[in-house]
């Protein structure tokens, strides 16, 4: 499946960083069902394996706390959330494979993950929280996320574009004036958004 439109932005770091909160509510990632979740996270999204093992201490798939991420495969429409280690008893309880896992047995991911079936196209939702969002968002935005046109339009309405000479906008591959980034012909369906951070 193709997105209904593509938007490529090249932005100064300060403006690019304002896109990080999009990950709190989740962004779309186009992938294939049946592939190992680790493959999606590390190979496709480029997350370092050591980072996934050590920094990402709390993982949810479809709101269920995951203990062993290597056992999961991607299912159609999955919602995957990644977070650093959290404070508090409940924060510690939600950590992967911790001694407190029994505290949340009722909401743990119990099966071996999605049954997979064939390898079909899907858009999963990826949520990144706290330090993990801060550290991973830029790279994932550079690779591209899928986001519904209406949501992206509403988000850009709230974001002041930097001066024209410090950024560039391409809509479906064609250059657009930066002050027109809210006036694009937003489709109802998916927009593939790529954000490149410009280093000064």
């Amino acid at each position: 499946m193709e997105p209904a439109a593509t938007l490529d932005l090249r932005l100064p770091a300060e403006t690019a960083a304002r896109f990080t909160p999009l990950f709190s509510a989740g962004v779309g990632i186009a992938t294939r069902t049946g592939i190992p979740l680790v493959k999606l996270l590390c190979d496709q999204l480029g997350i370092d394996e050591k980072y996934l093992d050590q920094r990402v201490q709390t993982i949810f798939v479809n709101a269920r706390a995951v203990d062993d991420v290597t056992r999961l495969t991607v299912d159609d429409g999955d919602v995957i959330a990644l977070s650093a280690a959290m404070p508090g008893l409940v924060g510690a309880t939600l950590r992967k494979g911790g001694v407190l896992a029994s505290f949340r047995a009722a909401i743990s991911y119990s099966s071996g993950g999605g049954q997979g079936g064939g390898a079909g196209f899907t858009v999963v939702t990826l949520k990144l929280f706290n330090l993990v969002a801060r550290e991973l968002a830029a790279a994932i935005l550079r690779g591209g996320i899928w986001i519904k046109g209406g949501r992206l339009a509403a988000f850009l309405e709230q974001t002041t574009p930097p001066p024209d000479d410090t950024m560039s906008v391409r809509w479906n591959g064609k250059p657009v004036q930066s002050d027109r980034w809210t006036a694009l012909p937003w489709p109802e369906g998916w927009v593939e958004l790529r954000v490149e951070t410009l280093t000064v």
Partner: protein, 580 residues
């Protein structure tokens, strides 16, 4: 800390002050001190607002020293909210100041003969008590401001707001922070009502002319403190997550887990969570700027600094950075997704001297009763203002969720032993339900907060995959937490201790270096067991039975979305928690 200050408000000629040596209470600090005094000296069946009850204020064991994180203070009494023993603790400066002045505890006892209000002044020259009727029915902010006119701006203050004076069940005791503002509270269980019943509005503490408390073994202490601080700084939670986002970093994660109580515990996820998350709060604070905006300590000597300062969009100070529990209580639990409104509610709670968790839970119960719509922040603010004004409705609300539910005929009232549950639904995270049900304190998230069995070696090792693991773990956590509460250390040190055995050892070395003792991890857990046992015994004598160690029935009957789970730990299992 070699003395205790007793203030008997029932004296024949007015309040009587007595400073005495520690006697049998030597070596105790924080919760160990407050619970031991209450267990020894308060008749368990007394009325919590009567002359027989006592309010004990005790700095932690290491407070007033150079030990990092050691400035928490405990407040204990028989609770007007739970009917059992209570320890509520707080940050702020007074713990360090009292400890440097040598006081291991202040014990308020008796009751004044009339409604005269008093203030207590403590400095290096001694203690005095004066009438303070000019402070009557002032909020905590105005109280501190007015006292500044007389005592300058160098003192620390312990005070109550209007809620404490009205002896309401949700009343707190306030402690001033590093900026001298009354933003830190011993929040839970109505401890402020007991201070109000003693007729004491404020305790002014000036440590000018005192020195830091000296360790018995300075070399060992210094080395241990250095290792302890390094351990806290290197851990991702205490070194990065908490300083960057504060405790509100939990909002997105608990919401994602489906354990975020929403609309008075009706569902486990809130659509507006991202808008009030720690990430959103930190971004708002950073963009608005101002001193100590997103990262700030609640007392000197804190190296984690999970707190911050909330300024409005015009840069005016509103309140300290609201904590996770506050943001949840006044936010998602009431369907409110506006951080400015939540900060205003936090400010009102602090000013009137109200527990934010209890008040958020109460407003949600009131919303269920039809007094306001879920999501209506203006109505929530109006209801809290009623409490400060002392209207009949305000007094009902200020008495907490249980009373409000009873008055307005609401069944869904999330309390245990009369105290509101904090920000985690026990159907999703059932282990915390075990702690809510069985804690000596009523529903309390901090009761089982600290260190695991594996670290302290309490009660043997636990198989996390067995269902009974929840009961054993809850027991072990409650023991360990109780022990940490005695040290005066902030419980947030737990994360670094949990993951880094060398940081745990540094803590033990720190205690030993300071006290000259030779404690081991086992001794620490024995201390926790001892305190818990005396708290349980007090509660049993006060009339609390196994029937009180239960969650409300609806948690067993109403499935929580999105996971459609009910609380499944049996009564028999709950009754095993205190088998040690």
């Amino acid at each position: 800390m070699d003395k205790i200050l007793r203030i008997n408000m029932s004296g024949a000629n007015g309040p009587e002050l007595k400073t005495e040596s520690l006697g049998a209470y030597a070596g105790l600090g924080g919760r160990a001190m407050t619970s031991t005094v209450v267990a020894q000296e308060v008749p368990p069946t007394c009325h919590a607002l009567s002359a027989e009850n006592k309010l004990v204020i005790a700095p932690g064991l290491l407070s007033g020293s150079a030990a990092a994180m050691s400035g928490r203070i405990s407040v204990g009494c028989k609770s007007p909210l739970t009917g059992g023993i209570k320890e509520a603790n707080s940050g702020g400066q007074p713990s360090q100041l009292l400890a440097r002045l040598g006081y291991a505890a202040i014990i308020l006892e008796g009751c004044p003969k009339d409604d005269t209000l008093y203030k207590v002044i403590i400095n290096k020259d001694g203690v005095s008590i004066d009438k303070a009727d000019d402070l009557k029915m002032l909020g905590n902010y105005d109280t501190v401001e007015k006292l500044r006119g007389t005592y300058g701006d160098k003192f620390g203050c312990i005070s109550i707001g209007q809620a404490g004076e009205m002896k309401l069940g949700a009343a707190t005791v306030a402690f001033t922070d590093m900026e001298g503002l009354p933003t830190r509270h011993a929040g839970r269980g109505g401890v402020g009502a007991v201070m109000g019943a003693k007729g004491i509005k404020a305790i002014i503490i000036d440590d000018a002319g005192t020195k830091m408390r000296e360790p018995k073994d300075p070399e060992k202490f210094k080395a241990a403190n250095k290792a302890f601080v390094a351990g806290l700084r290197q851990h991702p939670v205490t070194g990065q997550g908490l300083p960057a986002y504060g405790t509100n970093v939990l909002t997105n994660v608990i919401n994602e887990a489906g354990g975020y109580p929403t609309f008075n515990f009706k569902q486990g996820q809130f659509d507006g969570a991202a808008k009030i998350s720690g990430e959103a709060l930190a971004e708002m604070e950073n963009s608005r700027g101002g001193d100590g905006s997103a990262t700030h300590g609640c007392h000197r000597g804190c190296v984690i600094r999970c707190s911050g300062t909330f300024y409005d969009k015009n840069g005016r100070f509103v309140t300290k950075q609201p904590e996770y529990e506050t943001v949840w209580a006044h936010g998602g639990n009431c369907g409110i997704d506006d951080l400015d409104a939540i900060a205003e509610l936090d400010r009102l709670d602090d000013d009137f001297g109200l527990d934010t968790i209890e008040m958020g839970a109460t407003i949600a119960v009131a919303m269920d009763a039809g007094l306001a719509q879920f999501g209506d922040a203006t109505a929530a603010i109006r209801l809290i203002k009623e409490v400060g004004q002392g209207t009949p409705l305000g007094r009902i609300l200020g008495s907490g969720a249980a009373v409000t539910g009873r008055v307005f005929g609401v069944e869904r009232v999330p309390v245990v032993k009369g105290q509101s549950m904090p920000a985690y639904d026990p159907r999703a995270v059932q282990g915390i339900g075990v702690t809510y049900a069985t804690s000596t304190m009523g529903a309390d998230h901090t009761a089982g907060y600290a260190v695991t069995a594996n670290v302290l070696g309490v009660g043997g090792s636990v198989d996390p995959l067995k269902p009974q693991g929840q009961v054993e773990l809850s027991r072990n956590l409650q023991i360990a937490t109780t022990a940490i509460d005695a040290t005066g250390m902030c419980l947030f040190i737990a994360f670094a201790i949990l993951d880094q055995p060398e940081t745990f050892q540094a803590l033990i070395d720190l205690i030993n270096g300071f006290t000259g003792l030779d404690m081991t991890g086992d001794d620490v857990s024995d201390l926790g067991k001892k305190i818990l046992t005396q708290e349980r015994t007090f509660n049993a004598r006060a009339g609390l039975t196994a029937a009180h160690d239960r969650l409300p029935d609806y948690f067993k009957n109403e499935p929580l979305t999105p996971h459609k789970v009910t609380f499944g730990v049996t009564d028999e299992e709950l009754d095993q928690v205190f088998n040690f």
